[in-house]
Each structure stands twice: as structure tokens, then as C-alpha cells.
Symmetry: C2
Subunit: 386 residues, 2 copies
């Protein structure tokens, strides 16, 4: 196990019928901006319930935060926060709304109006000294944004990850009932997203971090068991709760503490979303199987462990176990109605080259925890995925 | 899964050679009280290293916090904190020093000098509004005190648990090198303590909380694998790190979120420590096997899961699996040189009656998450343990 720092101060408020507690979670005298995405939060009454819980507080609504939230949209909210002296931002939505609201919270206290500066620190913390306080009402189990300090914003048609300790939500309400109106496709993408969040921290160089490994395996097994049940049966609250808590634990820092992390699948996926508009979780599921096949020697020890412990593959040679585990992973994504070849999404050789060219422009030329996943290898992975 | 709140803001600083970071972890202008136990922290140089890291800060040393920390000892530290206007308390030690320092931190801001009032809230949070800020340098993997809000204090010869969100350490340094000078007996007791912390949150009524269950099982399996290695081989740093991080995760709240908890073994154990001076972890290991045998019908579903997943028992009837899992658990404690019968510790029928009488006095008459573990059943368990 490597040395590590672990810090996560988000207060999780988990369970049904808890939106009323917003009144005690947010300061009485706060001027609150409620941020949300499309009309579903309005249509299904979530925004009304939230507003009712906030009682006498002054409230500004800011809707229209799109999937893969756009810088230009968020800057509008930042201006309102500054003009209106908002002191609390409350994200009501999924990963995009929460990520976007983290950006709003940081940008509203940024020392200049060059807010894009927040986006240029890669995986290093943004050196911010202040931010608006942030809370979340999470409506989509997937990204883990409800319990971490990171986000991804689209700026000038490129996706930029950022992280900052000031972007930890003060609290996040995880009410499973709020996820029941989600389209099936979003549930499926969420299962894949959470699954691959674990994989990027788990299928890496082995550092004998047994607790972290086993938490990762536990989350994966739970997603495999209860993700499909949630997808198939909207009323199975037991499965839904396990899926939600899996997705949060997949990216709250606990699995990645003290281990190398490989975010290659995400880096390639971000390009596919930016250029071809494919939903984030789906891009990851498309890329991962062939990335694992290509990198199986690099990830050998952990792939064998993954095969044995997550997929219960006990028979066969190590190579057979690895091959079967990757096949089972791809079949799992397919079982969620996620097609895992590029042709299906209209991406041909030109599309692949365009992904490569853009990754080069973004400086993403040496991926993985060992820095040896080159763009030539990315091309090979994408061609194998046609 | 039940509704739950999860909140744990402690910053974990894990790894070798990190004591120097105390300078950035504690405010520059803080007046710091360093609390510790016996002379080993001095003898092995830990206190000197800590003081060197704190550089120009004004420091008061308070040593002599005993195992099962005594109210009267701690009150002396509280008086010094108030007289000298200490603003930061730094615990350097194991569970007793950390627990005691949490009490000092709360008592120093208690509205009166009736500090014992802090101890009379059971498992409800102490309604405190202020406390000194607290940090830890943890030297014994066992109690989880380094990453939770609880403690246990001995007052008038009785052990009192308390908890308060203000008692979360701001940070805890977990440096495996600091644990290398521990006597083997303390390592063994720490393994048992951490193991049973998981058990009290895991072997309870099943609420289908799959992530929590699997984290618990992962911690148990890691303790079973790497606890004995740490005990046998002082130089095996890989195993030691896993043992330490297991012990912290055993009681940082994540396993117990959204599930019923049964602290019966602890409640009985506290009496054995208070009356007979047996080390805490050891009392738990003595009691647990016969408590499980006595309560096997109440805990049936989870005991079968425990047998299959933690002890890999796949053969036999459910009853056989349960019996074998409990036997293996007891044999595990015995393999750590922990004798698990009362006679060995000089506790006879009179001793058992004295434990029962005292538990009655303390109002501990309806234990377990279902409240139906009566003192008659406690007597049965203790007689079976002779």
C-alpha cells in the first residue's frame, strides 16, 4: 500500500422521505440558488418539494444545466450568484448538475472573471481559497459527485476534469425514490459508470492494499447483482438502495486510497462524448473491454484476482480466467442494453483518427498509472472496438 | 438497508515518515497539549519527533493516561487546558490516549466543571456546542478511535461510552513504523478488538445492505490473513499496513451505516475490564464465541453468510456451517495466544454474578439490537465460557 491522504467531509443523508431535512441542513438566513437540469426535476415535483422544505429562505432557481455541463451555461449562474449575493448553492440532479454546481461554487469566489482558469489543473487540486457552500439532492446514481471533490466541465468543446477540497458537498441527500423516474438508459449508463469508476482504481498495479481491493470487489459484485434488478424492476427498493450506495462508494476516495489509479478509459471516453455526444457511462463501457484485452499483461495480477473474486471464475489457466473475466464484463454491459462497438455509434476510421488527434491536442499522450499507454495503443484499442 | 446518516470529516494521513507534516496540520499559532500514556512514547522517541515537528509552537506535555482512561486523570489535563488556554490537543498513543483526549477536548469547553455529565448520554450524541480541536498520532491499530467520534472513559470504576461529532479528530496520522515497538500481546488484542468491532455491526439482523456487508467481510478476511503475519513478523510492513487500515475501517462508521448494531459483547466486556482488569480486546474475544453459540438462531442468516464468505465454508448443513464458523473464530483468537475461557482469568461463579449485578446497576438489562438479550442470557453465556 502506498502512503495516502484520505479526507471526505460530506454528510450523507441516505433514505426515503428525507427532503424535509433540508431545512436543518442549510443555514436559516442563506440565500439559496437551486440548480437543476431539464424539466424532469420540475415535472416530477422534486423542485417544489425542495422549495417547500426551504420555507422562508430567499430562493433563486437556475435550470437548464445540460448533460456534460457547458462552461457558458454555468457562467450565467456564476454571474447571478455574484449579482444576487447567493450564499448557498443546492444542486438537484445527477452528475452533470452536481459537477456544474461545484464549478459555480468555485467560480463565484474566483478572484477574476477568467473562470476557465479553474479547469486547467488536471488531477491537481484547484488552488482556490474560497467557494460558495454547496449541497446536493442526488437524483441519479452514477458519478459519485455527491460525495467527492471533483467534476468535469465542457469548455470550448473539450471536457476538463477539476478537483478541489472546497468542492466537497457539505451534504448530499440520497433518496432512492427520486431516482425512480429515470429513463432505463440512464440507469444502465449509471451502472456502467459506477462499475468502471471502481475498475480504474482497482485493475491497476498491485500494491497489496487488501482492504481497498475488497471494498472495490464488494462494490462490483453488488453492481453486478443489484444493477440489473434495479433496471428490470422499478419497485425493488432493496436493490435500488444497494445500487445507489455502490455508485457513491465507487468514487468517494476510499477505493483509490493508497493505490495507483489508471483513468485511461475515462480520458478516451471524454473525447468520444465531446466529439460524438455519446453518454459518458456508455463511452466507458464501449472502451473498457478492449482496453483490458490490450493491457492484460500490464494488469495481469489484478485481472486474475478480478476473475476469481468478482466473477467467481475458479477453473482454467490464468490466461483463460483473464479472457473469460473480460468477456463476462462486456456481456454484463451488453445485458444492460449497452452496445459495445463503435460502428453502432457511427464512429469509423476517420472518427477514430479524430479522437486521437484531439487527445494529442489535449496533451493526453501518455495515459495510465505507468504513463505508457500511448496514442498508438489507444488507436489499436479503438480499432479493435469497431 | 435502513435510512442512515454518514459523516466522517477526519483527515487520515497514512504512511511512513509523515510526522513532519504535523507542522502543516496544526495552526502555527496554536498552544498545543500533547497527551500520551506511559513512558514508551518517550522512550522510543515519538514524543521528541512530534515536538520537533511542531517547531515554534508552545507545547504542554501531559503523560500518564492509563489503559481504560480514568476520569480523575483526565480532569487534571482539563484543568491545565483551561488554566493555560490550550487551543489544540494532540493525542499520541492508542485507543485509551485517543479516547481520553476526546474527553479532554469536550470537557475543556464544558459549561461547568461537572465534566462527568459528558458520560451520561449512552449512544446518543453528547449535546455539546464547543470542544478543543483534536488531532491524533495513532500508535496502536485496534479501536478505530483515530477516525470516529466516540470514546470510553472509566468513571467511578464503571466504563462509560460517549460520542459527539465535535470529538472527531481533525486529522490522524497512521504511521505503521510507530506500531513496531508494541508488545505482541497488544497486537493480538488489537486484532481481536478490530475483528469484533466489525462483528458487532455485521452479525446482526439482515437488512440486505450489501455494500456494508462486503466491506465488513473484506475487513474480517484481511484481519484473518494479515493480523497473524503482523504478530509473527515485526518487519512485514505490507501486512502491518493492511492490519492498521483494517482496524480503522472496522469502526469509522462505514460498516455500520444503515444496519442494526449489536454491541452486547462490548457491554459485557466493559464489565470484565472494569472489575477484573482484563484488556478490552481480550474480553471481547473471550465472550464472543459463546455469545454467538447462544444467539445463533437470532443471527442465523448472517452467521451462514459469515461462514460462507469469511471462512469459505461451503460444505455441510447450515447448522454445521454456523457451528464451524464459530469454532474457527474462537480458534483464530486462540491462535493469537488469547485464551478464551473465564477460569484462566480467575473468574468463577462469584465473578460471573458480580458482572451480572453490576450490569444490572448500570441498567444494561436489555442488550442487542433487538433488546432481548437479558441478564439471564448473559449469565448463560458466561457460564458456558468457564
Amino acid at each position: 500500500m502506498n502512503n495516502f491522504d484520505y479526507y471526505n467531509p460530506t454528510h450523507i443523508v441516505f433514505g426515503q422521505d428525507r427532503l424535509g431535512e433540508l431545512d436543518t441542513l442549510i443555514p436559516k438566513n442563506a440565500k439559496v440558488m437551486i440548480t437543476f437540469g431539464g424539466q424532469s426535476a420540475k415535472k416530477y415535483g422534486t423542485i417544489d418539494t425542495v422549495k417547500a422544505a426551504l420555507i422562508e429562505r430567499e430562493i433563486i432557481e437556475f435550470g437548464g444545466i445540460e448533460p456534460n455541463p457547458q462552461y457558458d451555461t454555468l457562467v450565467k449562474a456564476v454571474k447571478i450568484c455574484k449579482d444576487e449575493q447567493v450564499d448557498f448553492v443546492l444542486a438537484v440532479g445527477g452528475g452533470s448538475v452536481m459537477d456544474g454546481t461545484k464549478f459555480i461554487a468555485l467560480a463565484a469566489k474566483h478572484p477574476s472573471d477568467q473562470y476557465q482558469e479553474i479547469l486547467f489543473h488536471g488531477f491537481s487540486p484547484v488552488p482556490a481559497s474560497d467557494a460558495l457552500t454547496l449541497g446536493c439532492v442526488a437524483t441519479l446514481p452514477a458519478t459519485g459527485s455527491e460525495m467527492n471533490m471533483g467534476g468535469v466541465i465542457t469548455y470550448m468543446a473539450q471536457k476538463y476534469p477539476f478537483m478541489c477540497p472546497l468542492a466537497f458537498p457539505k451534504f448530499s441527500i440520497l433518496d432512492p425514490d427520486l431516482t425512480k423516474t429515470l429513463p432505463k438508459e440512464q440507469i444502465a449508463n449509471g451502472i456502467a459508470d459506477a462499475f468502471i469508476h471502481v475498475i480504474e482504481q482497482y485493475l491497476t498495479q498491485d500494491t497489496n492494499a487488501k482492504v481497498q481491493d475488497r471494498i472495490g470487489e464488494g462494490v462490483l459484485k453488488t453492481l453486478i447483482e443489484d444493477g440489473p434488478v434495479t433496471l428490470a424492476d422499478n419497485e425493488n427498493m432493496d436493490a435500488r438502495k444497494n445500487f445507489i450506495w455502490s455508485a457513491t462508494n465507487a468514487l468517494n476516495g476510499i477505493i483509490g486510497a493508497g493505490v495507483p489509479q489508471d483513468w485511461s478509459t475515462h480520458m478516451i471516453g471524454h473525447e468520444m462524448t465531446a466529439q460524438f455526444g455519446i453518454a459518458h457511462g456508455r463511452t466507458l463501457a464501449i472502451i473498457l473491454p478492449n482496453l483490458l484485452r490490450e493491457r492484460k499483461d500490464k494488469k495481469r495480477a489484478k485481472l486474475i484476482q478480478f476473475a476469481e473474486r468478482v466473477w467467481d471464475i475458479k477453473e482454467g489457466s490464468d490466461d483463460q480466467k483473464i479472457a473469460l473475466a473480460i468477456d463476462k464484463t462486456e456481456a454484463f454491459f451488453n445485458s444492460l442494453d449497452i452496445v459495445t462497438n463503435l460502428t453502432h455509434y457511427g464512429i469509423d476510421n476517420d472518427g477514430i483518427e479524430s479522437i486521437i488527434t484531439n487527445m494529442e491536442k489535449m496533451g493526453l499522450t501518455a495515459l495510465s498509472e505507468t504513463g505508457d499507454l500511448t496514442l498508438d495503443i489507444v488507436r489499436k484499442i479503438l480499432i479493435a472496438t469497431k
